[in-house]
């Protein structure tokens, strides 16, 4: 049976598993290369912007790119072979960042045996990311 509303929703919203997979790749890349939190936030911002662009493409030829980027992301995820996501297993829901500069991704990390909230884009305006001392 056709469910137009759920289909429409599926088209409008990026696949959360794909987003989590790409974020997981960003995380591994950041850990492997020592990339900064600001760089991770930038990469995540670009990823979200690109996905939004892809979603806004009209049907027809440009629609090809709508599938190209997610497909490329999935291919990368497969090549990396380090994505351990059991999204259905995560103990978290309704995760919401409370600052426009922050980005958060949640996943269950099988390699670490933990639910993880990966937050990037913390405020560095004070020169110190925390603004306080322990």
């Amino acid at each position: 049976m056709n469910k137009p509303e759920s289909f429409k929703k599926e088209l409008q919203e990026p696949d959360p598993a794909l987003l989590a997979g790409l974020q997981d790749l960003l995380r591994h890349d950041a850990a492997a290369t020592g990339r900064s939190d600001a760089h991770q936030a930038w990469a995540w911002t670009r990823l979200q912007a690109r996905l939004q662009e892809v979603q806004m493409q009209p049907r027809g030829w440009p629609a090809l790119s709508r599938w190209f980027f997610p497909a490329a992301g999935l291919t990368l995820a497969g090549l990396a072979a380090v994505v351990f996501i059991w999204r259905d297993s995560t103990s978290l829901s309704r995760v919401q960042t409370l600052s426009p500069s922050l980005y958060a991704s949640t996943f269950y990390s099988r390699e670490a045996g933990a639910d993880v909230i990966w937050v990037t884009g913390y405020n560095y305006e004070r020169g110190d990311s925390t603004g306080a001392t322990p």
Partner: protein
């Protein structure tokens, strides 16, 4: 009969040098942190714990850097709404259903030459 669940929040700093590793007594946990964050040395900056006895909000402050405001769901057992604050600035909110033996790890900001890490454990 089991008592009320206890929530423990630890704040760690991960870094490659500058201090000695303090998690040598818990190599499995240390390895998990290394897998996630890539740093070799970890030290604890603070800890806060509480028992959940009612539906009232609870503030847990392991250090001046972070605090967590937890509100148990009055209708659903073992479900918490929480808000993470960096100093006094709200960072994120979430709904959490703890699972036995599975901690919740939150990546904090970069700090000195490493990163801050919050670990939330729930015990029954």
């Amino acid at each position: 009969m089991a008592g009320p669940p206890a929530i423990v929040v630890d704040l760690y700093q991960g870094q490659n040098d500058g201090f000695a590793d303090e998690l040598s007594h818990n190599p499995a946990f240390r390895q998990n942190l290394t897998r996630l964050f890539g740093y070799s040395n970890y030290r604890q900056l603070g800890q806060a714990r509480t028992s959940v006895t009612s539906g009232q909000p609870i503030n847990l402050k392991p250090s001046d850097l972070f605090s967590i405001r937890i509100k148990p769901d009055s209708a659903e057992a073992n479900v918490f709404d929480f808000e993470l604050l960096q100093s006094d600035r709200p960072v994120l909110s979430a709904r959490y259903t703890p699972k036995p033996g599975i901690p919740l790890i939150i990546k904090g900001p970069l700090y000195q030459n490493g990163v801050l890490i919050l670990v939330l454990n729930t015990y029954k």
